[in-house]
Amino acid sequence: MATTKQPVWDLPVRLFHWLLAALILFSWWSVKNHHTDWHMWSGFGIVTLLIFRLLWGFVGSSTARFSSFVRGPRAIGDYWRGRWAGIGHNPLGALSVIALLGVVAVQAGLGMISEDEDGLYLGPLAGLVSTDTSDKARDLHELWFNVILGLIALHLIAILFYRIRGKKLTLPMITGRADLDPGTEPMRRGKWWVALICLGVAFGFTRWLVAGAPPFSP
């Protein structure tokens, strides 16, 4: 069948994906090697990415929007039976996207209210909870990483599974383009300046969180 290379992932989605992967790896490495300060900054970077992705999921390119890929059980069933045609996340993969974003967000939230065991480092929002809660949050933060690892493993296994079945997923996440059947509805690109606004809001909101979420009163 004749296929053509068409855009499927915009630059913001691809940057988000690879930066998130890199920062998760760096977060793990830095905390294992006693660089708690780097670990915290890596976490703030992840918070920025998550906020950006959330916003871009509403105002970004068509394949980035949650409304285009988060579907109900019926769509997932149809996909399972091979009755799905489209670009971007398929209805089953969408579950993986939501789960990954969700578990990373929980992890970031736990980190924000954690403190280290010696009282050397306080998460920016740790002041909003008690010492005991911060300590429990740290324990959970450590345990929760296993949940993240599990989902990443599932993610990689799924990519391998698709690869064996002849569908390439990694290259499009790098180049942004994939072979599409003729007649497939193409991606509608988001505006670059909207992406910049989302990024600005994400930076601003993260800064406010890092400052300990002070009240806005004068």
């Binding site: 992967a21 010696d118 306080l122 010492t131």
Partner: protein, 183 residues
């Protein structure tokens, strides 16, 4: 190309698990070294000379854990108080007094034969292998804790704030080389 990508992430993930097993392996080897270290003849360095019997050793590691946890709690409370925006000097004083008192006891809390080869402890065998360095680090921490305690007793909050980082650094400087990760 896509295979390279998959392989890269796979390798990264493998690194995660390898890193873990490596450190566990390292800990085990250290544990074994310590076992042989514990039977070496007693010496009269700053650390207690003869190895105590097992039940006594377990009590020492337990009490030590409690003492260090109490010290950690004071460190946490101090940090919170100083970051609260309007620190209460009395609260600060109570923490620094606890810290200075606990710090003075550290060198005596690690007699030979109370390492990871005897019971569950996060004390690394390096404490006994590099005894002099350990003693030096614990003295550095004591000096930092006493200095901040003196400032707190004098009611000088600005000085407490200025000295706080030294205390943290001294704590970390000893924990990084001499304490195992949490169980």
């Amino acid at each position: 190309m896509r295979l390279i990508g998959v392989a890269a992430i796979g390798a990264a993930l493998l690194l995660v698990s390898c890193g873990r097993s490596k450190s566990e392996l390292a800990n085990n080897t250290q544990g074994k070294t310590a076992t042989s270290g514990a039977v070496t003849p007693p010496n009269n360095m700053a650390l207690l000379a003869t190895a105590p019997p097992k039940d006594q050793a377990l009590k020492i590691t337990h009490d030590r854990h409690e003492a260090m946890e109490g010290l950690g709690k004071a460190m946490k409370n101090l940090h919170r108080e100083l970051e609260s925006g309007k620190p209460d000097i009395n609260v600060v004083r109570a923490q620094t007094a606890t810290m200075a008192a606990a710090a003075a006891k550290i060198p005596g809390m690690f007699p030979a034969g109370t390492g990871p080869d005897v019971g569950r402890t996060r004390a690394k065998p390096e404490i006994w292998a590099k005894k002099d360095l350990f003693i030096q680090k614990s003295k550095d921490y004591l000096a930092a804790a006493q200095a901040i305690d003196a400032a707190a007793k004098a009611g000088d909050l600005n000085k407490v704030m200025a000295l706080h980082e030294n205390v943290d650094k001294a704590c970390k400087a000893c924990h990084d080389p001499f304490r195992s990760p949490e169980h």
